[in-house]
């Protein structure tokens, strides 16, 4: 049975597309799914670093698109999980090195081999975005609780829904800081989705361990002690159709704070 192609996109840069892509992909591989991560951010590749696989790259997506190598040759097997693969982007080329048609062809070919293909989309709405979205069946929309990120995400929703085969993306709200939300200094997840009005797939709290795990090339989803890791594991479960409650964001209140909140209720 053919797999599903999921594009991870955001519009705005730096909101956590690559991290989300790596974590959901790895989370699904932990569950034994055959997963391929495609880095479509040509010229600014990152996914290989986040996955800790940058020293194994020989061929890349542009080589595959230009048919200078076979698709299988460019796939890099993950060092931890048997069923996880990466198709890296070219670092020395530009976004127009591949076309939407080639992207659709490559996705269709690889769909036969994998359960899920995640495409890490570049920021922006230009050629790179169009390429990344071309072959997708589903979309995960990543945003942070900032007005600018939400507005860009809204633009993406509009573009995805206006597509010939309409995609209704599912939302991941990244880097939520509960303390700031409580003080009214940050948009709450409800405020974000009040504007976007799409399916909520998950909420990821802002977590310093993400920075270290990203630098180490070990996705946080593998870390059982990480808050963000737990959030990503929940996202993976929801992605597979399980009903998991959204985790409480009250963990940083402390005992005193929790009592205060109870009294306030």
């Amino acid at each position: 049975m053919a797999g599903t192609v999921v594009v991870v996109t955001s519009g705005k840069g730096g909101v956590g597309k690559t991290t989300t892509c790596a974590n959901i992909g790895t989370g699904l591989a932990i569950r034994g799914r055959r997963v391929l991560l495609i880095d479509a951010d040509i010229g600014l590749r990152n996914l290989d670093v986040v996955m800790g696989l940058e020293n194994r790259i020989v061929f890349d997506l542009v080589n595959v698109a230009e048919k200078t190598c076979r698709v299988k040759q460019a796939l890099i097997k993950d060092k931890r999980f048997e069923t996880l693969y990466l198709l890296p982007a070219a670092q020395t080329r530009e976004k127009d090195a591949i076309s939407q048609e080639r992207m659709i062809e490559i996705c269709a070919e690889l769909k036969q081999e994998f359960d899920y293909i995640f495409i890490d989309c570049p920021a922006g709405i230009e050629q790179g975005f169009k390429n990344a979205v071309a072959g997708a069946d589903q979309a995960i929309l990543v945003t942070t609780p900032d007005l600018s990120a939400v507005r860009d995400a809204d633009r993406i929703v509009g573009l995805l829904q206006a597509r010939e085969s309409r995609i209704d993306p599912r939302l991941v709200v990244n880097r939520v800081r509960p303390a700031m939300v409580r003080k009214g200094e940050m948009m709450a997840v409800e405020d974000v989705n009040d504007i976007l009005a799409v399916d909520l797939l998950g909420i990821v709290p802002d977590d310093e361990t993400i920075i270290t795990s990203t630098n180490k090339g070990e996705p946080a989803v593998m870390d059982t002690y990480s808050r963000a890791g737990e959030a990503y594991r929940n996202i993976v479960a929801r992605f597979e159709g399980e009903s998991v409650p959204f985790m409480s964001l009250d963990y940083d209140l402390g005992l005193f704070g929790k009592i205060k909140k109870m009294i306030a209720k």
Binding site: R151, D154, R155, I195, A197
Partner: protein, 225 residues
């Protein structure tokens, strides 16, 4: 000379009040439409007569004589179309105008004139980067998100949350109004007047429908419904 000829041509039919009749006067050609015959029959008759005349009337200006008959706007257009096809031009007579006026007078109470403006309904949310322009009134069944732009020459009604940029009365209609279930736009324009949401109101939620309109060359927002 020509007038006599025409008279001769249709002498027979003139006597018959059941038929459509062309009459030549000094001022030009007059088309007499019988009072007691159905409109469609009149049209058929007219087409037949024009066919028989074989382009004889080409270029003539025709005035209508309706008697007690009252023509609808659409019927008037139909006659005009048929005449045009045969190369004739229909002149609007005072007689005809009176009839039309009478007609609109009759309906004035039920349909106010301004509401006759074309209205279009959009059944979805307008998102950031999307723009909608319409020559008429706009009804949006959905939200207008920040970064979206809505422009209409008439009124704008949003059955949802209005958080983008809106411009009503874009061609200068000072009477245009903007109504929304939740009116929180980035910027409102009506005709040539521009205003923006006050900073201190940002994020404050107004959970009731509001209306924006021009008063004293300023946009005011007031509770409505």
């Amino acid at each position: 000379m020509a007038e006599e000829k025409i008279l001769g041509l249709f002498k027979k039919s003139t006597k018959n009040s059941e038929n459509v009749v062309f009459k030549g006067y000094k001022s030009g050609l007059t088309l007499i439409i019988p009072e007691n015959v159905s409109f469609s029959k009149c049209l058929d008759d007219l087409i037949m007569q024009l066919d028989q005349a074989k382009g004889f009337f080409k270029g003539a200006v025709v005035t209508l004589q309706l008697g007690k008959r009252k023509l609808l706007e659409t019927e008037f257009i139909e006659i005009s179309k048929i005449l045009n096809e045969a190369g004739l031009v229909l002149a609007t007579t005072s007689d005809h105008q009176k009839k039309l006026e009478w007609h609109s007078q009759k309906h004035k109470e039920s349909i106010p004139e301004e509401s006759v403006v074309a209205t279009v309904t959009i059944r979805r949310t307008i998102r950031s980067g999307q723009k909608f322009e319409y020559d008429g009134n706009l009804v949006i069944m959905g939200d207008v998100n920040p970064g979206a732009e809505i422009v209409a020459t008439g009124d704008i009604i949003v059955l949802g949350k209005l958080r983008g940029t809106v411009h009503a009365g874009a061609k200068g209609n000072q009477d245009a109004r903007i109504i929304a279930f939740q009116l929180r736009p980035i910027q409102i324009r009506i005709a040539g007047v521009i205003t923006r949401a006050p900073e201190w109101e940002r994020g404050k939620r107004q959970e009731r429908p509001e209306m924006a309109r021009i008063n004293d060359n300023q946009i005011i927002v007031e509770r409505c419904c």
